[in-house]
Structure formats: structure tokens, C-alpha cells
Symmetry: C2
Subunit: 403 residues, 2 copies
DNA sequence: GTTCCAAATGTAATCGATTACAGTTTTACG
DNA sequence: CGTAAAACTGTAATCGATTACATTTGGAAC
């Protein structure tokens, strides 16, 4: 440390102190103004306020122009070489002398150079992005898949564009068209619809696309990765029948989807084998929401012979159903058994914990990316469909049928 | 329809039929092979199999080259105009004659032309993308924010790059650097850490960045949007004290974050006013997970005087705590009152429903995008921080303290 | 039929990279 | 030391757009 006379330090401290006070005053004024805008005057009582955060320097700095964008040309001049050499140093260092490499790297460091990704992409014709179409972001099951997608994509140098479609066709169209405009190299569809607009359908022919969990209706050109929903439907039914149930209810999600049909077919096939009649009366619901579970139970309990066991086609529905059954004074599983689907995290912590079907969601997401990248690179696929095994988790929400 | 002699139709049908049969056979072989790979031989019983999906044409078509990429030059040749005119027709149609416009549009249609987004972006220097850093995708609270972000971004012509950081610094660094390489124009941080690596810190100075829910620790340059956590802490405490509680426990999430400090300060301030001592013993936990709630309850119940009311710093923790309290034979709220935070969907359907603090998550996401886009466009901000109001939802998990 | 001006269109530079090809230096070896 | 081959570096074309500037066209006014 360098020597400083005492007086100088004192001055410095005084000045600093002044600045701090000044900033604080400015901050307090701004803060009060903020509160005023948000709450009106009433809430200003000091004790209801948050611990005051540090004063801010404000956005002034951010008003300046984006001066930090250095390009390859500046670096090349700084290093005294051509742009080609700079590019090579960064992409194929083995083509460049140790000596030059050092010079260039020093210049890169000095200039704070980061290659413009847009320029690289336009030259190579690859965006290294994939777009994922999700019908519902808040469903933790979908998010688990996307976690897998994200992880796998990142490992392979791809980034993920999020397309929250809310099940709406026009939003799907918009996101899907990103692949047609080079904004993304490929597409993962978590819903069951064909995401391209009629206008783009011809172009869509050659687009790398994979669907996960669902199959795209009427489309046989795209690979898919899904659970063995038919077998899962059978397993659940066997499980309930082994407990002596014979009066069933089903609260379905999206009834137009492939997985709906598969699960239903699985259930029906076992009922058939066991000599239990299936009737359309047993089937209610139409979306994968908690409210569907509530309404479904209400409807099913109105039947002449209400069910003693209810299949819910996802855990959210089951959560709603459980809530409503309890509200109506019925006990689970003593009065009614209940099964979910997906094994979302909370399902294990409900009261009672839900019997459900575990899907390897994370793994499905990862596989989808693998397959998609193969499609993007025009590599031959070893398989165009993958049907993954499930696991039936028997927990507290199912039990023996009432005598 | 054109006339066709009967015999010809018959032949066509026969051929078609042959093709279908052939495809079906190929499909079945492939299907069996798939099953073999996935399950082994045992599970082949026909009745355990899914309803057979339609035969697929396989990936052969997708092996072809990406021939559909038409560029502006081809369109210009097709229309017999210059590339400039094509560009103008699409971006500034008012600069072009009706006549030319028609010609060009026809050519665009014919060629199936979609402008290359990468090229446009490199020219204009704007990627029209923003990257969102999320510590945890599966948390529905975060996803609600992202829903808002996504929606607002889409409306303004931006797309959202998903950065699942899992709270890891190196992943944050990687995603944050997307803004430095023109891959994204701005950054929304949902966690409380400064996402840039030390290396990039100098460049980060001028990057458009906003944080939501959390403030970035030690950083005063970036705007933030958050809940009035201090006031929320106070409100929850008042609520519990009004029920006569005086022995409290707190199960916290990330203890290093700003919101943690704010909430805790709010709780402490009320305890102080009411003459209740705060001790570090009351505070357990350290992450926003269900397991934290379980472990937290176990720990708190070991105390000499276990709490009669427990603050959980998010709903997941509360769900875990509720589960564990019940498992230990305690009733909620008769024996122990419990509060959550965030108001995730399921919290209302727990047994009992959770008393919690509602955050306007969707709206916060939307606001974040508004602010970020202002930063990106170098527009002056009217306010560099926004503190949004909360709502205390009193539900079944809180009640009078045991006498 | 000129003249003039505005509108429409074309030419060519540009964005920031990559890379084929050409030119230069270094190395290896007789 | 000379020569060929190998290794390195530079020049300039290229990716697919946008846009400043130059040129052409069209129509109105006289």
C-alpha cells in the first residue's frame, strides 16, 4: 500500500460520506415516489416499509450506446493479422502458429471480443436453437420434460426457445414457423396437434420435428417418443380390479389426443376380459386441470350407481377429485379409490398420497433432443418411434372396494 | 373430375392395397423390434400392447437436403425485380407500386419464401430474443412468471430463450453470455445472483438486465420488480398473532437471497413490536423444496418448546411441512398453524387449504418484459424499481392457537 | 412536346462472421 | 544450398438479408 498523509484520508472520508448522504436522500425521495405510485399515500407508515435497499445509480449508464460490441475486424487490426486468422484462432486453433495465437488471444482479451453469434449462424446456416411447443407451462409434468430437453440441448450446444401455445392453433403456427425462417433448426411438439398452418404445410414436410408424450394426429412422418399408455391403462385397471372394484369412473383430459385413446383402450380391454361392461356414462372430463377433477367427481357421484374407483388421466385432475370427494364427506380410499397419472412431485405428499403412473419425463425430454438432432443433421434414425416403459406407483389413494 | 375407365380404377385400388399391406407388414416388424429393444421378449403378449398406430413412412423423406430454403434472390428473379424491391415489398409495402407488389407477392407465394431471420437480425443488429434465467423449472410459481414473460414478449415481437440454471453459477454464466454474443438482446434474472462471470463483468455493465422477484445482490445498476416482502412478512405475522400464537417457527428457502432477508425482517419487526423474542433457533431450512418442509418440521418439533405456528417461505415447503405434521399425528390448524408463500395452484386444494401470500406472478413477468424492452431500446425508465402489492389469503391452515 | 419533380426501382455497400483459394514462409531432405 | 512439400497467413467471395444512393419512370403543369 502506498503512503497517504492522514489529512488526505480524512478529506477522502468526508467527501465519500457526503456522497453517501446525498445518494441516500435521492434514494429516499425516489422510494417514496415509487410507493406513492403503487399504493397511494396511506401505506407510508415507516414500520410497514421494507428494509431500505441500497441506493441505486439509476439507469443513466444504460442510456449510453452499446459501445461494447467489438467485431472481428477491430481485433484483427489490434493483433496485426487478417480477420481470417482471428477466425481460425478461435475456431480451429490448430491451424495457427503458437506465436500468432498468442497475439490474437491478447487482442481478443484486450478488446473484450465475443464473436457475433448471429453472424456466425447466418454464415453456417444453422441457428443451433430448437423451439419447444408446450400447451401449458404451469404443469410440472411438462416442465420436467422440458428440463430434460433443456439439459440435453445445452450439452449438445443448442439453446431452447420456449413456445407457450396455450393449446391455441395460431400461437402454434407462429412458433412452428420459426423453423421455416431459420430462427430454429428443429421443433419439439408436446401437444398432439400438427403445429403448422395450412399455408406452411407444404414447407413443413421437411422440417425436423419430434413429438413427445403425444403423437401428432394424422401424421406419420414425424418420429415420436411416448409412454406405453395402453399398457399403463391396463396396469391401472388390473390394480383396481385386484382390489375388488367393479364400478369405475374415468375423468379424462383432452379427449381428442392419442394418449387419451390409448389409455382408454387399455382400460376397456381389461374390463372386457373381466366381463365388466364399459359405458360412456363412466367417462367425464375434458381438460387436464384441477377444476376438471372437481366437476368430474360431482358428475360421477350423480350417477345411479356411483363408481367406487376413479381413473384420473393426470395428477392435477386427481388432486381436484380428491379435494371434492373429501369435501363431499367421502373417504379415500375407504369409500372411493383414486388413481392419477404422471407422478408429479406433490402427488406423493397429498393426503392420502396418490397412486399414479410414473412417466420418465426427464428422460423422454432428453431422448427427444437426441432424435431431433439426428433429424437436423440428416442422420438416419435407427427407430422412428419409441415407446417407453412406465411404472405403477401404488400409494395410499387406492384400496379394497367397499363390501 | 376427369373420366377414368373402370378397369384402371380397379388396378389402382389393387396396387394401393398391396402397398398398404406391405407397409403394414414392415410396420409390424419394426414395432416388434422396438418392443424387443425396450422391454425384452416377455411383454409381447398381444393384449398388453397398445392399439397399433398407423404405419409410418419412415424418416426417408427427412434424409433429403433442406431444399426448401428459398432466398430473396430467387424470389427477385422469379418476380423479375431486384432484391431491394422484394425486401421493400415485404417490409415497407407503401414504397412499392400496386403492380410490382402483386408480382412480388405471387413470386413469394410460388417459391414459398420466408425471409431468413438470421440474416435480418445480423443486418439490423437485433436478435429480438430475450433470455430468462430460472433456477428451477418445475416450480409452478416461476412458471407463472415465465408465462407472463412469454406472453408479453410475444406481443412485442420478442421470443424467449429458456435458461434453466439450476442455481449453478457456470450455467448462469453461459446463458448470461448470450447477451454478449448478440444471441439475445436482454436478460431477465429470476434468481438473486449476478449472472455474469468475473471475466464478463466489465462487458456486463451495459447489458439490458432486469430481475424479478429477487434483487441482484450487491448490484444497484439493474432495475428490479419484486413483491413487498417486508410488508408480507409483517402481514403474515400479524395474522398469526391475531390468532393468539406466540411460539413461532420459520422454514426458510435460500437464505442468502434478498427476499429472505426482507421477509424475515418483516416478521422480526412485528415480533419486536409485540414483545416476542426472536431467536435463531426458530429459523430452519435452506431451500425451496418439499423435503425442506419435512426436515424443517422434524427439526422444529425437537425444540423444548415447539412452535404452534410455522412460517414456510414458499408453498412447496408448506406442502412438505403439512405432510410431515400430519404424519407425526399433529392436526393443522388445531395443533399447529401453517402459512405458505406464492399461492401456487395446488395450495388451495390441500387438506387443509394453505393460508398463503398471493404474488401477482404473471403480472410481474409482464412488467419485467416492459422494463427490459425499454432498456433494450435505450429509453429512459420512469422508475428503476417496482414493488408490487401482495394479497394475504387466509385459508384453512391457520387457526387459533391451542390454549 | 418539354420540363420538372416525385415516386419507383435498381445498384452496390454493408452487417460480422467463415472459408476457398492464393500467396508466403517454414521445414525436410537430398 | 536448393527444392519440394507442408504449414501458415492473407485476399476476397460468400451467407441472406437491408438500405443509402443512383438511376429510371411516370405524370402534372405549362
Amino acid at each position: 500500500m502506498s503512503f497517504q498523509p492522514i489529512t488526505q484520508i480524512k478529506t477522502a472520508i468526508t467527501v465519500d460520506f457526503g456522497v453517501i448522504i446525498l445518494r441516500y436522500v435521492i434514494f429516499v425521495i425516489d422510494y417514496i415516489y415509487t410507493c406513492y405510485c403503487l399504493y397511494g399515500v396511506k401505506l407510508y407508515k415507516q414500520k410497514d416499509r421494507c428494509a431500505l435497499p441500497q441506493p441505486m445509480e439509476g439507469p443513466s449508464k444504460q442510456q449510453e450506446s452499446l459501445a461494447f460490441m467489438t467485431n472481428i475486424k477491430k481485433v484483427s487490426e489490434l493483433a496485426g493479422v487478417s480477420t481470417a486468422t482471428v477466425s481460425r484462432t478461435l475456431k480451429n486453433p490448430e491451424l495457427v502458429t503458437e506465436n500468432t495465437r498468442e497475439k490474437v488471444m491478447k487482442a481478443v482479451q484486450l478488446a473484450g471480443y465475443r464473436p457475433n453469434w448471429l453472424a456466425t449462424s447466418v454464415k453456417t446456416g444453422k441457428s443451433n436453437s430448437i423451439v419447444v411447443l408446450v400447451p401449458n407451462l404451469v404443469n410440472p409434468f411438462f416442465m420436467r420434460i422440458i428440463e430434460g430437453i433443456e439439459q440435453a440441448a445445452q450439452e449438445k450446444g443448442y439453446s431452447v426457445l420456449l413456445g407457450d401455445t396455450q393449446g391455441k392453433a395460431n400461437r402454434e403456427n407462429e412458433y412452428a414457423s420459426m423453423v421455416l425462417t431459420n430462427r430454429a433448426d428443429g421443433l419439439i411438439q408436446l401437444d398432439h396437434s400438427f403445429p403448422f398452418s395450412a399455408n406452411d404445410a407444404a414447407l413443413a414436410e421437411k422440417v425436423p420435428m419430434v413429438s413427445v408424450c403425444e403423437r401428432i394426429e394424422g401424421e406419420r412422418r414425424y418420429p415420436f417418443i411416448e409412454l406405453d399408455n395402453y399398457a399403463a391403462g391396463r396396469a391401472l385397471t388390473h390394480h383396481l380390479i385386484s382390489y375388488g372394484h367393479s364400478r369405475f369412473g374415468i375423468i379424462a383430459g383432452q379427449r381428442t389426443s392419442q394418449i387419451h385413446h390409448d389409455r382408454l383402450a387399455g382400460i376397456k380391454s381389461v374390463l372386457n376380459e373381466e366381463g365388466i361392461d364399459f359405458s360412456e356414462d363412466m367417462l367425464v372430463g375434458g381438460s387436464y386441470r384441477i377444476e376438471t377433477g372437481i366437476e368430474g367427481v360431482q358428475e360421477l357421484l350423480k350417477r345411479d350407481t356411483p363408481p367406487t374407483a376413479i381413473f384420473c388421466f393426470n395428477d392435477d385432475i386427481a388432486i381436484g377429485a380428491l379435494y371434492e370427494l373429501k369435501r363431499q364427506g367421502l373417504r379415500v380410499p375407504e369409500d372411493v379409490s383414486l388413481t392419477g397419472f404422471d407422478n408429479v412431485k406433490v402427488s406423493a405428499y397429498m393426503d392420502p398420497p396418490l397412486t399414479t403412473v410414473d412417466q420418465p419425463a426427464y428422460e423422454m425430454g432428453r431422448r427427444a433432443v437426441d432424435v431431433l438432432i439426428q433429424l437436423i443433421n440428416r442422420q438416419p434414425l435407427s427407430r422412428t418411434r419409441e415407446i417407453l416403459p412406465f411404472q405403477l406407483l401404488e400409494r395410499g389413494s387406492t384400496g379394497p372396494a367397499k363390501a
